[in-house]
């Protein structure tokens, strides 16, 4: 893969939503997510010659983004403030939401996601945003499949319990 700027531009355009969304959901902050995504793309630019094919690039981007976002999260002295409503509004304005999907419910779920412990949050994001299977997540994170499944199950239960408490009007 060549590192020409024009080719890089194409890669950024194809994968920026994935990278940015992962970074945003792991860190919970728009500005931090932007910094993480910038770092990831810069590293991609430097490492582009080691990568072959779009699948390899996608796998690499997901892996590096999760690691960078986790590092950023750990550096934050305070708990991430969720700006879910802010960026959910942006997404809605872009007409990205499907018909009948409640943006309020989604924004609340995003906020609750930010309250999950780090490893559970990462597993949930990769499963439900990236639609990755547990064994794919395990490979990406370098964890046993059983650990990933446990984090997913516990994360989902915790998220649902929180949703039931805070969003009675939406969750049965």
């Amino acid at each position: 893969m060549r590192t020409e700027a024009a080719e890089f531009r194409g890669v950024v355009e194809r994968h920026q939503r994935m990278v940015f969304s992962l970074a945003l959901r792991v860190t919970g902050e728009y500005g931090t997510a932007e910094e993480v995504a910038q770092d990831v793309f810069l590293e991609l630019f430097r490492s582009a010659e080691k990568l072959s094919g779009d699948d390899h690039v996608r796998f690499w981007l997901r892996k590096v983004t999760v690691h960078r976002a986790t590092d950023a999260l750990r550096r934050q002295a305070h708990r991430p403030e969720s700006h879910a409503e802010e960026w959910m509004d942006d997404a809605a304005a872009d007409g990205d939401l499907g018909p009948g999907v409640g943006t309020v419910l989604e924004a609340r779920l995003e906020e609750l996601l930010g309250s999950l412990p780090e490893q559970m949050r990462i597993a949930v994001v990769l499963r439900y945003q990236e639609e990755m299977l547990p064994d794919e997540i395990a490979k990406l994170l370098g964890q046993p499949v059983a650990t990933v499944k446990s984090n997913l199950q516990r994360g989902l239960k915790l998220l649902r319990r929180k949703a039931e408490i805070t969003m009675k009007e939406y969750v049965r």
């Binding site: 959901r25 910038q38 793309f41 630019f45 072959s52 390899h56 960026w87 997404a91 949930v124 945003q129």
Partner: protein, 147 residues
């Protein structure tokens, strides 16, 4: 009071209900967690970063790059050609030719010296042997050169 069969059925229904609710929740979560649209200015930042990195790389002249192929092969790629590279290569070649010729001449001189030394040693040995033989013959005839 419920019998054991009724209790079992009730529990099964509870599980089914719980399972259905969890599935419903998972679906809501999947819908909520679509990828976020990136703001135009954020995209511009990403691209500006790449362009800046490319400019720096070009200014630095690239350098050798390790290229990995999908089949596991690796190769070092040459840096991109620069204007001064032709002159530099010509100078290196000229120096190579000069030093090569010089080294070759030195080697030939050394060879000639060694050969001359070997020839001298051989001649000296032959002379000594001839002299010794002559001395022996003269002694046999009763002439002693030592006297």
């Amino acid at each position: 009071m419920n019998g054991p069969e009724e209790n079992k059925r009730e529990k099964e229904m509870e599980f089914e209900f719980e399972d259905a609710r969890m599935q419903e929740f998972e679906q809501a979560l999947s819908r909520a967690m679509h990828r976020v649209e990136v703001r135009a200015e954020t995209t511009a930042k990403f691209l500006a970063l790449a362009e800046e990195a490319e400019r720096k790389r070009v200014r630095a002249g690239g350098g050798f790059r390790l290229i990995k192929f999908s089949n596991g092969g690796r190769v070092f790629a040459m840096p991109r050609p620069r204007a001064w590279m032709g002159g530099a290569i010509a100078a290196v070649l000229a120096l190579g030719v000069f030093f090569g010729t010089h080294v070759h001449e030195q080697h030939e001189q050394h060879q000639r010296r060694v050969m001359a030394e070997q020839q001298f040693e051989a001649a000296e040995r032959i002379t000594d042997e001839t002299l010794a033989r002559t001395r022996e013959q003269l002694q046999q005839r009763g002439i002693n050169l030592e006297q």
